[in-house]
Symmetry: C2
Subunit: 430 residues, 2 copies
Amino acid sequence: MTKPLRIALAGLGNVGAGVVKLLDTNAALIERRAGRAIEIVAVSARDRSRDRGVDIARFAWADDAADLATRDDVDVVVELVGGSDGPALTLARATLAGGKSFVTANKAMLAHHGLELADAAEAKGVALKYEAAVAGGIPVIKGLREGAAANEIQHVFGILNGTCNYILSTMESAGRDFGDVLAEAQALGYAEADPSFDIDGVDAAHKLSILASLAFGAKVDFGSVAITGIRDVKAADIAEAAALGFKIRLVGLGEATAKGLVQRVHPCLVPVDHPLAHVTGSLNAVVAEGNYVGRLLFQGRGAGEGPTASAVVADLIDIARGEYGPAFGMPVASLAAMPAAPAGERLGRAYLRFTVVDKPGVLAELTAAMRDAGVSIESLIQRGPAADGGVLIVLVTHEGPERSVAHALEKLEGSPSLTAAPMWMHILEA
Amino acid sequence: MTKPLRIALAGLGNVGAGVVKLLDTNAALIERRAGRAIEIVAVSARDRSRDRGVDIARFAWADDAADLATRDDVDVVVELVGGSDGPALTLARATLAGGKSFVTANKAMLAHHGLELADAAEAKGVALKYEAAVAGGIPVIKGLREGAAANEIQHVFGILNGTCNYILSTMESAGRDFGDVLAEAQALGYAEADPSFDIDGVDAAHKLSILASLAFGAKVDFGSVAITGIRDVKAADIAEAAALGFKIRLVGLGEATAKGLVQRVHPCLVPVDHPLAHVTGSLNAVVAEGNYVGRLLFQGRGAGEGPTASAVVADLIDIARGEYGPAFGMPVASLAAMPAAPAGERLGRAYLRFTVVDKPGVLAELTAAMRDAGVSIESLIQRGPAADGGVLIVLVTHEGPERSVAHALEKLEGSPSLTAAPMWMHILEA
């Protein structure tokens, strides 16, 4: 009988407790699949006594997670503490430096320190694995790192944040406004008390930077992701988009172009027959398009105790089987330093929403600004004044350089005709 | 520099030529990802001189594919010859016995001889890999073997045959009949001259038996797959199903139940909002549901030169990286011999279509047969007589044991009221 794979687990929140439950419940099956038992031997968390619905008294306890890294009876440390720096990073560095494998669900840490950690893992020939960091239970890290590995990937994009997708699809189905749905989501526990990492797109951007590295063989470059969240999406945008044949989704998009790497997270108009339009509630989905495989779609539950634990344990099984290699699919030295593509050169169609005063000449002012910037209008809707006297004008442009749209909006900046900042969303063509 | 991984390629049809093209086009990227070059050194095919759009003069040539297995300058043999037995099997046995790794797209051979070959690979510590055998470019073998490995899988099902899905979705969009669309598909090269393996469900059944083995940790058991093809699906079925809120898809379904393993391939009614309902044309999709991860969906191109070559080369990259293990996710000795679940005990709803004579009492006869067998009717549609005088009666049952439906149909067998055999399709509830 092969020796068990011995695990230390740092962090016993929902996901940590889920990992303990999963390893208990599916133990026999996992031993068959992994070729050996996978056993937790030590744990660490903030509070030893909290009831988590799992028995942790059988495990050794460490007050300081960093102590897990140096235990002789541990092969792999699993980090479910979170945070890009601080204790999580200290633990990661100590674990890898000590020649143990490291499994994490921490996208923030990987987005900021992934290359350093991958380098450290390579130096010791141990695993750095992080399937749970992106899209929860969906094996999309594996899908890109291995499944699509034969392909030059043109673009990778997806719905990477379940909280945002829940809010947008509830706004869509219930016709309600953002603040209202967010408050409800917080009450239900679907959104954090401080929801900014989710709704401002930062969490999705962390994940996108990891996917882009895997897809394009590029160094993780979180700093160059352009990020727009969903705070400014109104119920009216969703209704007008629907009238035009689109749904609104927060999309993370990475694209390899001749001029460099495009990385952006932004609310997008998605055609109603696009696979991402069918992704509702807290589901996640990722699309990757390769030069041989064509379009691949991965969909499933992107968060939560069960799916995240499933991904963590899949990583442990890979390690138990000895089936692992460089964290980002190639040695760090082979990853390209791809420049960020210059903003504005990308071609696309845009959705623009203006909130204007109800007086003569406003439409002429808007359309003149578009014309002067070289933006061609494909469709335009103006509705009669709402109860508050405000008038919405919504338009979709023909394909053109994004820079032109930016110019048109600059021209309109400060115009007394506008009662609020315009809303600009891209239309997902891929 | 690590030594290249040296490949021998048997079979130079579309997919074989695609593998050559892919390894040429993406050579630099593959070398970065695999950590070493992947180089074809020898090939074999029926006709050496045929123009395949790729230069094969640079490779050593074998008239007999079996000779590839014994070359000293080869690490991996790729088999793209096809056929469950014959030259493909001879080559597989010789390759593995000689201690070389083996990559194949041959679902028929794996369905019939997968366990023997996995055993042979294990004995020599080499790889047996077959991502291309199921769902073309979609990494669903990897998704089940590794991505979902932490889970007890409840069921796995999907659209596994692009030809059938193309025919059914064209019948649906064009309102045309089966024979008509099949003939066109043959003319366009989407269906084989002898289409029976596809349209009778055998190809999907081969694939299903492989998926079921991976999902349930069970020995491949092709012999117990219940198979119904799509020959008897009429345009009228598609129209009536649409009226009831369903689409018709050929679904391969595997389910682990307390009474044993359910494996079946059959045309199914799929609710219009089900992910499989969105899968049109020649796409493939696979859904797996696990006790922690929940529902995973994988979708993409299930056949064709590019996607299939992508899957073959993904396997080669895994081998080059040394990231591989037992073919069915655990040693053959650990795979369970699961009994087939007794037919008829499964609960479900059924769609039944009767073609009847237009005379009094027919409906009473049908409904009495249902009642006597304990089948409860949820909805029923009878249309006025068609031009040929035939009358269609379509009904959907409430959930109940499938055996009861079978009894009702037995009672009606030979009834002069029926002018054709009834059509029975399951309703996909999962």
